[in-house]
Structure formats: structure tokens, C-alpha cells
Symmetry: C2
Subunit: 413 residues, 2 copies
């Protein structure tokens, strides 16, 4: 939909290794877009476990409701993702559409519909014609291969300007295991969880409950610490799949969340989520600056989070960043409106390490020229020191530009 790649796109795209037990295929099913792929089928070997976290929207999409229900089984054999239509606010038609998609997928893959997971992204409120998957999914099941990670990441894009992938290889016991992840943004992004679809795959032999614990813990400071526009999608879906194939190489089966052997894996897993969520911020609609908001000296971490989110969601702060203006007055405004403990006369504020305000007033040593130069950087860190306690938190966002308005002013038409 967008034409130019975000200037904040990471320069290097990792080589995505295969993950034993996962095969991928994509197609152009003509859901909405012309001339591009819009369906992803991921085939998962028998024994694959699954975990998921979803939007907290009170009006979730039909696929979110589908996944929530199927997650109880803890097993997955197929993931079907389409872009172009979110199948959200589509009433009974939407529910029927998920059931039909799952039937078509189950038949193509040779599994139960309970083992099929679904995600849809795109326009809300338009019926999704699931018959378009008929034939397509059967063909994809035949042609899926283990190496199509970039194709997969591209097929799930909507207003994204670049595909988002991340990978890590780490030891579990004495065996090497791999984690691959992909995500799509790029607007309507605000916890909990951040919009978007994200899918994580590993060959580590983890029980569904271990995977769920891992996901829940890892999302807090990654996808849930990310906001583009403060808007929460009806379709936010993060699914993780563990094929267990690495057991053949001697990886131990993990069935307890606190298992100490998980330490390195947990770190790598969280790093994948952090990497993907930063890529989503880097591809925020119309984004020209990646913005990291750090709040320290808060009374509690949730308080620091709320203040950081208040800053990160403020249109006035975001437009100031777009204008390369170190407008700390607006940061003060955003601290003040958060409703959290704050003492104006103890506040300090820095932009990219240059302190512009301290003790409730302009820092006398602050050099406007130096700050103006610093504001030209593609990454801006806003640091607020509250001076009240020891808690801190960090949130990622991007600036608010005319391009955001342009992208969203004629998205549907």
C-alpha cells in the first residue's frame, strides 16, 4: 500500500534458517490486494505445541475468538494468515468464515480443525469470503517448503513498508535450537498487546504451558511496551509454535516453566520479541523517527509505564519530534496528564542524552544549537527523570508525520 520503504528500516536483514517441523507457502488469493501475495500457510509437524496472546479489545475479530478457543487443546498443525481483510466486526458471517477457512485448511493438511490457527489483518467490517481459500490452501499444502521465511513475512504485510523477521540460535541442554519470528505492523498499534500479527516458531521441545508462560512474560516489555498511535486493533495476535523436532538432536523436553535449562532460550526468545517490536516501531505509519521513551525515578514500574505511554501517545510530543524540536514543555504536559505521581520541581528531561530541563525549569547549561543538531538523528531518546523513586520503564514509539495522516486518510477508499 505504501510505496517507499521506511527510512528507519534495519539495514541488514538476517538469513532465516529452516526450523525442523515447519514448512511455509504463500499465494495471491485476491482477498483485497492485486498483484501481491496475501495468504500464508504454515504447516506444522505432529507434536507441535502452541501458545498465544491476543488483543484486549472488547470487540475482537472472529479469528481471535477462534484462536482463543482452540488454544485450549495446546496443539497445532497449521497456521493460516491472510492480509487485506481482518474479518473483524463481521458478525455471524465472520464466525462462519473462520470455520470454513479452518475446514479447508484441515482438509488440505490432513488434521483436525482444532489444530488450525487463524489470523487476519486488513480492513475491518467487510465480510471475508473464505471460499477464496478453497483450492488455494490445498495447493499451498503441496508446495510448502522450509525456507520461505521472507515470502511469509511479506504475505502478511498491510501498510508495512518492509517485512519483519528475526532469528536466533541458542543451546537448550546440549542441543542447538532455533527460534524464528515474523511480525507485521504498522498502525492501530497500542497494547495490550500491540496490534499486529506476530508468529514465533521454534524446534525446541516445549510443552504448551511452558510456551504460554514464556510468551506472557516476554510480551510485557516488548510488544506491550510499544505504541504507534494509541489505537488498539481488534486483531492483535501473537502465536508461538514449538515443533519439538530438536528432541531428535538431544534437546531436553521442557514441561515446567521455571526449568533452569530454559535460561538461555528465554533470553533469546525475549530478544526476538524485542527485535520484532522495535521493527514494528521503525515501520510505524509515516514514521521518520524511532522514539524511545525512558522514564526513571518513578514510584513503581506500572507508574513509569503509564507516564512513558502518556508521552509516547501524545500527538503534541510526536509532532514535535517530527519537527525535530526538543520541545520538553510538551513532555512536561504529557507527564502531567498521566495522573501518576510527579513533582514538577524534581523533573529532569533529556533528549538524546542532552539534559534540557532540571528541577522544574530549563537547564541553564542547555545549548539550543547542540540539541537542535541532536534532534536530526533518526533515533530519539526522551528520558524523563522523575526523582521520586527507583522504578523505571521504557516504551518505543515513532513520530507523528503528515504521512501518517495521508496513509490513514484514504486507507479504506
Amino acid at each position: 500500500m505504501s510505496t517507499a520503504v521506511s527510512p528507519l528500516a534495519p539495514p541488514d536483514v538476517p538469513e532465516m534458517p529452516v526450523i525442523a517441523g515447519v514448512r511455509l507457502a504463500t499465494a495471491a488469493a485476491g482477498i483485497r490486494y492485486k498483484g501481491r501475495t496475501d495468504v500464508l500457510l504454515a504447516l506444522l509437524d505432529k507434536g507441535t505445541t502452541v501458545a498465544g496472546v491476543f488483543t484486549k479489545s472488547k470487540c475482537p475479530s472472529a479469528p481471535v475468538e477462534w484462536c482463543r478457543a482452540k488454544l485450549k487443546g495446546g496443539a497445532a498443525r497449521a497456521l493460516v494468515v491472510n492480509s487485506g481483510n481482518a474479518n473483524a466486526f463481521t458478525g455471524k458471517t465472520g464466525k462462519a468464515s473462520t470455520a470454513l477457512t479452518a475446514q479447508i485448511a484441515a482438509k488440505a493438511v490432513g488434521c483436525s480443525t482444532s489444530d488450525v490457527f487463524l489470523a487476519s489483518t486488513g480492513v475491518i467490517g467487510e465480510p471475508l469470503d473464505a471460499t477464496k481459500f478453497d483450492g488455494v490452501l490445498a495447493q499451498l499444502a503441496q508446495t510448502a517448503t522450509p525456507d520461505r521465511w521472507m515470502d511469509a513475512a511479506k504475505a502478511i504485510m498491510t501498510t508495512d513498508t518492509f517485512p519483519k523477521v528475526a532469528t536466533a540460535t541458542v543451546k537448550l541442554g546440549k542441543a542447538k535450537v532455533t527460534i524464528n519470528g515474523m511480525a507485521k505492523g504498522a498502525g492501530m498499534i497500542m497494547p495490550d498487546m500491540a496490534t499486529m500479527l506476530s508468529f514465533i516458531f521454534t524446534d525446541a521441545p516445549l510443552s504448551a504451558s511452558v510456551l504460554q508462560s514464556l510468551l506472557k512474560a516476554s510480551v510485557e516489555d516488548t510488544f506491550n511496551a510499544l505504541t504507534i498511535d494509541g489505537d488498539t486493533s481488534t486483531s492483535d495476535t501473537l502465536l508461538a509454535f514449538a515443533t519439538g523436532a530438536a528432541a531428535a538432536n538431544g534437546a531436553p523436553k521442557i514441561s515446567r516453566a521455571g526449568d533452569p535449562r530454559l535460561k538461555a532460550f528465554t533470553k533469546a526468545f525475549q530478544q526476538i520479541l524485542a527485535d520484532l517490536s522495535e521493527q514494528v516501531a521503525r515501520d510505524g505509519e509515516g514514521a521518520r523517527k524511532l522514539v524511545e521513551v525512558v522514564v526513571e525515578g518513578a514510584t513503581t514500574k506500572p507508574s513509569a509505564r503509564r507516564i512513558a505511554m502518556s508521552i509516547a501517545n501524545s500527538p503534541l510530543v510526536k509532532t514535535a519530534i517530527a519537527g525535530e524540536d526538543a520541545n520538553w514543555g510538551r513532555v512536561v504536559m504529557a507527564v502531567g496528564k498521566a495522573g501518576e505521581p510527579a513533582n514538577r520541581d524534581k523533573l529532569s528531561i533529556s533528549f538524546n542524552g542532552i539534559r534540557v530541563a532540571k528541577s522544574g525549569a530549563r537547564d541553564p547549561s542547555y545549548n539550543e544549537k547542540e540539541v537542535s543538531e541532536a534532534m536530526k538523528a533518526p533515533k530519539i531518546q526522551i528520558k524523563v527523570a522523575l526523582g521520586l523513586g527507583k522504578a523505571k520503564d521504557r516504551v518505543l514509539t515513532c513520530d507523528l508525520t503528515k504521512e501518517y495522516v495521508a496513509i490513514n486518510g484514504d486507507y479504506r477508499s
Copy 2:
């Protein structure tokens, strides 16, 4: 600051009558702007009572703190307002600056500093040089006249594109009393209360406590039901002054909030606040559409308010309106993210009276062409029927345009 007047500006500007006991004068003190007035002095006769409501920001401006403290006396003799500098986040300098301004004003007027009220609007975080008022206020006190309402409304503007005034004449007992009001917006506007400065004047003989009750009750569905960008100013100030001069014409002195003789006055007072707050919405930064969000069928009024605010503050809804797109999917999203009771399958959504969604899906009778035509109107009503209860609420906002970003991307520099 902005050059073109908002296309949503009211076509008719009322003739502002004099209010016995109030005299006004303005000057160009060179606070920040060149070639325009930036200071207002309102002189109030002895016996004038005062009431006020202010921002709930945890980092309020120095003038807000000044007014809060002085309100306890309940009496006012002078109001000094400057534009161009908000005197917010200016630390001890800010406090000293308010004290010095009040001293200069008290001397010019011949009253106690306790009877001087102050408001400042403009850039945050820059020290306000109160010595600029020296001489200026004395001269204004000499030259103030009862008829300068439009001049006054202009002097307090920042990014406003038109001055905002309203007036009403109503019976109190058997005497005619007058209410005049003025306000300035136009960004950083979100309850509680909405940003901006607003000042109401009447010759009705009301005690300070009656005036305070009236103000508190009237603000709830007017200024507090208004949002431009979800950002709350550090400087939100709404002050009301009652000179009591109409007592000379036989208006009864009112000293009890529930006094039945206040009925017509209360209605007119609320109407003034409603009128001014709508004008603020009509002059939202970059606004091209006035947007009224009505939520009905809610379980409670606060719940309806939170859902209405969620819709009114959603960048995706606001950009869709800017694009003249009846994107009810984004309205669903905003309902869902409010976290309030909502049942997707009972939701109905209309734009300017045309129902586009009902019972959780697209309204089958909905005609895209008809809706597209309706979306071209300068005023858009989004109505959401939740189908849960009987409570309803209404919020005013405006669309989010590229001009908003342009205005706020280089406001400070």
C-alpha cells in the same frame, strides 16, 4: 500564528454588550509575538465574586497555582491574561513571575494582590519576563473601557484562527442580567478540563460559592466533553466573575446554589459554555470537520463518556473523517479499546444519520454512495448505539489533518 481562518468558524459573531462592573483593555507587550496584542487586563468593580476550575495536570502552570490559592478569598478586582508564554514549568522563576505580575497589576488597579487573577498561554518551559508588564498594566488600567470584548478575545489567542465569544441576556428575578464569555483553544485540548483559557463575566449578584457550583456543574457536558488531541494542557483555566452590578436594577442576590430563581440563568450560563466549547472544537488545530460523537445504549453515563472519548481521541477515526471516509471499522476498534461494556453483536453505528452497521456487521441496506456524499459535510455526527442500557453521552472533537501536524511540527521553533 496560523494565517487562514478555520472553515468551521461560525459565520455570525455576536454583538457583545457591556457588563456593568467590567472594563477591558489590551496591549502589545511583546511577550513573544510581534505586531499583535498579547496582554488583556480586565478591571472588575468592588464586590465582584470569582469562581474557577482548572487543569487536572500534575504539573500545572504557575498561574494555575496562583489562581487556585487566591480563589479561596472569593473576591476579584483584576484579571491579567497574556498569550505567547504559558509560564509553565518555569520553576521558582515562574512563581516569582506570577507574584511580580500580580504586584504590578494590584498597584495599577489599586487593590490587593489577593484579588488579582492570572492566566498565561503559549509556549511551555520558557521563563516569562514579568517586568514586561511594568508600565503596560498601569496604562491599561487608565484606558480600559467596557466595550472591548472582541479585542480581549483576540489578545488571548495563540494558534486560534478566530476569536471566540458568546453572550446571553436573561432574567434574574425581574431584572435583566447579562453573561459574556470568551475562550481560546486550539490544541493540547482534552479534559479535565479541556485546555484553553475561558473567562465568563456576568453582572448577576451571585455569591462566590453559587458561582463555583454553577461552574462545576456546567463544565461537565461542555468543556469537559471536548477533545482536540487528547493532550491536557498544564494551563487549563476557566474563571467566572460576577460583578453583582445588576442588583442596582433589582436583581436578587443569590447565595444558595439550589435557589430556584437561578433556573433561567443556569440554562443560559451552560449555553454560553456549550457555545464556547463548540467554537474551540471548530478551531481545533488544522480542523476541517467538526465531529460530534454520540454514544447511546450504554450501561452508565461515565461508560458512555469513556467510549465517546475513545472514539473522539482515536487518530485512526480522526484521520478517516479527514479523508471523508465513513470507516466504521475504526469506530468499532475505538469502542473495543475503551475497555467498557460492549457487545460486538449488538453494536449499531451511524454517520450523519445513515446507519452503516447494525447487530455486529455491515448494515445490508447501507448505500456507499449516499454515505460518501454525507461525509463531505463540514459537521459529522458519529452515533454508536451499544444496545446495552439507557445511558448516553456526547463529546465534541474535530478531524486530524496534515495541517495539525504542520502546525505542531514547528510551533516552538
